[in-house]
Amino acid sequence: MDFLKRFAKRLGFTLLTILAMSILIFFLVEIMPGDVAQTVLGQSATEESVAALRDRMGLDDPLHERYLRWAGGFIRGDLGESLYMRGVQINTIFWRKVGHSIVLAFTALLFYVPLSILFGVFAGVKEGKTPDAIISFVGLATMALPEFVSGIILITVFAVGLDILPITSVIPIGENLWQNLEILVLPALSITFVMFGYVSRMQRSSMVSVMKADYIRAAILKGMPRRYVIFRHALKNALLPTITIIGMNMGWLFGGLIVVETLFGFPGLGSLTMSAIKTRDIPLIEACVLFITFIFVFSTFITDMLYAFLNPRIRYKRGDV
């Protein structure tokens, strides 16, 4: 019952956040300096054609009407028409790029989640010893690097030096992502660099505290194999904070994708957002930013629910939301 109550409360707040963000994003982008219609048509456009475009885009309507029309379209799944690529419905390009980014994000997750949990557990078990010091130093260093710096280092080593992976992650015309899976490796590794530090540190510290618990010491003293105790007993309880940190960082991951995709020229949501900003394509900027926010807010919501569900102390207690 309490779980359901928490669920309803959180869901309500999540929806409210998205509503507030949509208003914020809309007004932020719409106050863009300069005449939008003029920008689209160029300086040589006649006054009549500018006026006609303004009329067609509804730019002369009051701001709140335009917001409602835009938000309404969004809810119905209509993202509007691109300004820069005239006549192109955003829906026709948007979802393919989002799909690419999701594949990239999952490839990165596949790399960094097992890697950081494994090293985090190892460091936690060896607390204070040399392996712990090395792992925590590496984590601290890679975590601090912006994604494009780790990307450049990876490109220099694997693409320029060893020449085993492509420098850019462009999909050739007429082919799809599945025919070019190797282009995912370096971008995903760049993200792994950054995330490894966060996740392994969290895993290490929760492992350290769990290993000191009475039931772990009892299991070891009872003569159970150490490996069994670590992976069956300790890890089970030490994973909860790690899951939270991974979920909470999903939004970060999508923010980081903008940088990584720009570096590698990967055709995803990130490079779409960047080119939308460069070309001042207002409807496209709004769609991209709102979608990134949406992913962030929902992954936080799902993480929170998962945490509550996995943690019996919250599941059975009155939740404090």
């Binding site: 260093a141 690097l145 912006p146 450049i152 320029v160 923010g255 903008i258 900003i277 900027i285 962030f296």
Partner: protein, 276 residues
């Protein structure tokens, strides 16, 4: 003070971090006046020469500009902006977070909800969109926008720090003495939260460097011809095979600076936690 130095002595990582940071600060202050080249000076006879050749320590880029000089000049803007943003966002965070935490109740609830909403957009995305829309970023513009993007996070930290001190006796004593709210917040409570505040400022400094470098890389940071480390990387990315030094050295400059600051801030947070 002595105990800090003692702890510093025992931490080679922190010493390395501080040393690298100091080198960059000295380079930023004194470097440009010692350099043989300016950051826009184009050596037309020596385009894309390799490091060490023709009197160019780290080589030149496609326009014949000295990479080393551009990196030294670039350290000025990134250090200035990062220092200002970490200070500004921390000050703004303290003012907002303290007000919310101190008064509590409905003020606090509204504050928390607004911060939750603002934190739903990654700071990099927020800064990128605003800077992209406004165009032509200057040092002032960049500083203000990055500080705003950071403030929800710093305000939360400041609020948390205040809550740990709020119920102490000296706060009650000051209240009974009839001190004003402002006095209690900033004269009584602030000095007692200085530990977490310093930790936050140093950590924020590292984030700021990361953020400013990334914004420069995305092309919405400082505009050419001002040398900016992030911008140098994206400008020359296509040369990574032909002239890797034009891309690699600015990247390494960023890496050394952020890692140095992280090592330092990691040390600061450990010292402050030990103290409690």
């Amino acid at each position: 003070m002595n105990t800090y130095l003692l702890q510093l002595k025992r931490s080679p990582r922190a010493i390395a971090g501080i040393a690298i940071l100091l080198i960059w600060i000295i380079a930023a202050i004194a470097g440009p006046s010692l350099l043989p080249y300016t950051y826009t000076g184009m050596d037309m006879d020596n385009q894309m020469v390799a490091p060490g050749e023709a009197g160019h320590l780290l080589g030149t880029d496609a326009l014949g500009r000295d990479v080393f000089s551009r990196i030294i000049y670039g350290s000025r803007s990134i250090l200035t902006i990062a220092l200002l943003t970490s200070l500004l966002s921390s000050i703004a965070g303290i003012i907002i977070g303290f007000t919310a935490g101190y008064f509590g109740g409905i003020v606090d609830t509204i504050f928390l909800r607004i911060m939750d909403i603002l934190m739903a957009i990654p700071p990099l995305v927020l800064a990128m969109v605003v800077l992209g829309i406004l165009g032509n970023s200057t040092i002032v513009g960049l500083t203000i926008i990055v500080s705003i993007a950071f403030t929800p996070a710093t305000a939360r930290v400041a609020r948390g720090a205040l809550l740990t001190c709020k119920s102490n006796e000296y706060v009650d004593a000051a209240r009974i003495r009839g001190e004003s709210h402002l006095y209690i917040m900033f004269v009584e409570i602030l000095p007692n939260t200085i530990g977490p505040v310093i930790v936050e400022i140093t950590a924020r400094f590292a984030y700021s460097i990361m953020m400013i470098a990334s914004l420069g890389f995305l092309g919405v940071g400082l505009q050419p011809p001002t040398p900016d480390w992030g911008m140098m990387v994206i400008e020359n990315k296509s040369l990574i095979r032909a002239a890797p030094w034009t891309v690699l050295y600015p990247s390494l400059a960023i890496a050394s600076l952020v890692i140095a600051i992280s090592l330092f801030s990691d040390f600061v947070s450990k010292v402050m936690i030990n103290e409690e």
